[in-house]
């Protein structure tokens, strides 16, 4: 096992959503390169608790890269320097001994800071509630393969459905635009037969809710695609645009 690391952290500390925040510097000593980034923060927090200081607040849940709860902009990159990796799956071996690491929350008007690095991402939930569902007719379990779906279509829908709704796309975008998230959610249903009944109503409702929440517009820089831990493609955004324009100008 390689040697332990000593790091300097510059962490955004903010008491609550109304108080302005600032960076505070901490030492993270004796960190194992096999720790995850969140475990490293746990170690720092243990120290702070021992000193009866307020620990650094950050979001996390499954720590398996599937729940979408963890966040953090690490040295200017949402979920840190590794591609297709959430912060919880980022290991300290991605950093070098003596590094200074700057940790900031997602920055967006629609994601207000709750405390320190924790932001309120309910805006995403409200967008989902606006149309990100299918009306299921309950009854007996349908037979397998009753509805034929070509494999490439199923794969495409599945790759859109991989979105975990973490908000890294918003954090990465220079306009704090949520279009990669919304387009993935619209796409996963637009592609499949089960999503057809509400197809256009969904596109309209979700896009209008996205605007309502105060996210920016897309300028096609594709920073979102580069930073998405689930590698959601910007072709979803083109599909969302098609669905929305169809909904607004042709199908209604």
């Amino acid at each position: 096992m390689s040697g332990h690391m000593n790091l300097t952290l510059k962490v955004w500390r903010q008491k609550n959503s109304t108080t302005p925040g600032k960076f505070v510097t901490y030492k993270a000593n004796d960190i194992s390169p096999d720790m995850s980034f969140l475990e490293m923060l746990d170690v720092v927090n243990e120290d702070l608790v021992k000193k009866t200081e307020d620990p650094i607040h950050f979001d996390h849940d499954c720590r398996e890269g599937i729940c979408g709860m963890c966040s953090l902009v690490i040295n200017g990159e949402p979920h840190g320097p590794k591609r297709a990796t959430t912060t919880c799956q980022l290991h300290m071996r991605s950093f070098a001994d003596g590094d200074t690491i700057v940790i900031e929350p997602w920055r967006a008007a629609a994601f207000p800071v709750v405390k320190d690095l924790v932001t309120n991402r309910s805006a995403f939930e409200r967008i989902q509630q606006a149309g990100g569902y299918v009306s299921i007719s309950t009854g007996g379990v349908p037979d397998a393969n009753e509805i034929p779906i070509p494999k490439p279509v199923a794969d495409e829908a599945f790759s859109s459905a991989e979105c975990i709704g973490c908000g890294a796309c918003v954090a990465a975008c220079k306009n704090a635009s949520a279009m990669l998230f919304v387009s993935a959610k619209i796409s996963q249903y637009a592609l499949l037969p089960q999503g057809q009944p509400e197809r256009y109503a969904r596109a309209e409702a979700m896009v209008l809710q996205m605007d309502e929440e105060g996210f920016g517009g897309c300028t096609n820089t594709y920073a979102c695609e580069a930073q998405c831990p689930k590698e959601i493609k910007v072709t979803n955004i083109a599909r969302m645009n098609r669905e929305f324009f169809n909904a607004e100008l042709i199908k209604s």
Binding site: E77, R107, N175, T221
Partner: protein, 257 residues
């Protein structure tokens, strides 16, 4: 109607307006370039002045030109509205600027667009405004239809009434506003030529991102056809067209050193 206002006040609706006006302006660039290339003809500007007269007096083109002015204004104003919204979406920025692999021009469309807008104002006040106000010099061409020889005579403003072209005794006589001379004189100023070079560089970068981006916004991101839009955006609108435009002031300037 309320339905349309809902559609076009959404971020996607505004982006739709940006992409459609942008693509219309791209089409204009092609037409304007083909016409302007007449400047390379060694005929003392006869073809160029004929083209200028046609473009300003043929009714369908006049209608399209009003659409064009409208497009420039709408494209600029909508850009400002969207940019304001985009800035408001992130009131507190990052201490470390995000690294994201996006291309430079995609992040600086506003600055590039502003340079192009200033260029349009200067360009139109130099030529369009002077032409429409009759501030240009005037010229008479006499072409011997048998020998094909053309002689040129400067017309005094008092001699010129309106654009005419007629045949008299086997000689084609054309009296015209001399926009060619106006352009020729203007392009002998080094600072104006430099300004044109900068503006066309801005146009190049604006279109390298803008042209293909318009198709993505329209939702025409097709697996087979989108690479074509990207190719045309880069080599056609991003490189060939700005180079052809900038060749004109450079040609005039360098041949008159």
């Amino acid at each position: 109607m309320s339905n349309f206002s809902k559609t076009f006040s959404s971020t996607l609706g505004k982006k739709l307006v940006m992409s459609l006006t942008g693509l219309f302006l791209c089409v204009f660039l092609i037409v304007h370039l083909i016409g302007n290339l007449q400047i390379f003809k060694a005929d003392d500007g006869l073809a160029f002045n004929q083209y200028a007269h046609f473009m300003t007096h043929f009714p369908p083109i006049k209608i399209i030109s009003y659409l064009l002015y409208l497009s420039i204004i709408v494209h600029s104003v909508w850009a400002l509205i969207l940019t304001r919204r985009n800035k408001a979406a992130r009131p507190i920025g990052y201490a470390i600027k995000p690294k994201d692999g996006s291309i430079w021009s995609s992040r600086n469309m506003g600055i590039l667009g502003t340079i192009i807008f200033i260029f349009i104002v200067v360009h139109m006040s130099n030529f369009w405004f002077k032409y429409h106000q009759g501030y240009t010099p005037f010229v008479e061409y006499q072409t011997n239809l048998k020998t094909g020889e053309t002689t040129t005579r400067v017309l005094d403003a008092s001699e010129f009434k309106e654009y005419v072209t007629y045949v008299d005794n086997g000689i084609q006589i054309t009296q015209s506003e001399d926009l060619y001379k106006e352009v020729y004189t203007a392009f002998q100023q080094w600072w104006l030529v430099l300004f044109y070079v900068i503006a066309m560089a801005a146009l190049a970068f604006h279109l390298i991102h803008g042209f293909q981006s318009a198709f993505q916004t329209l939702g025409w991101n097709h697996r087979k056809y989108f690479p074509i839009a990207k190719f045309v955006g880069l080599w056609g609108f991003g490189i060939l067209i700005p180079l052809a435009y900038v060749a004109m002031p450079l040609y005039v300037f360098l041949t008159n050193l």
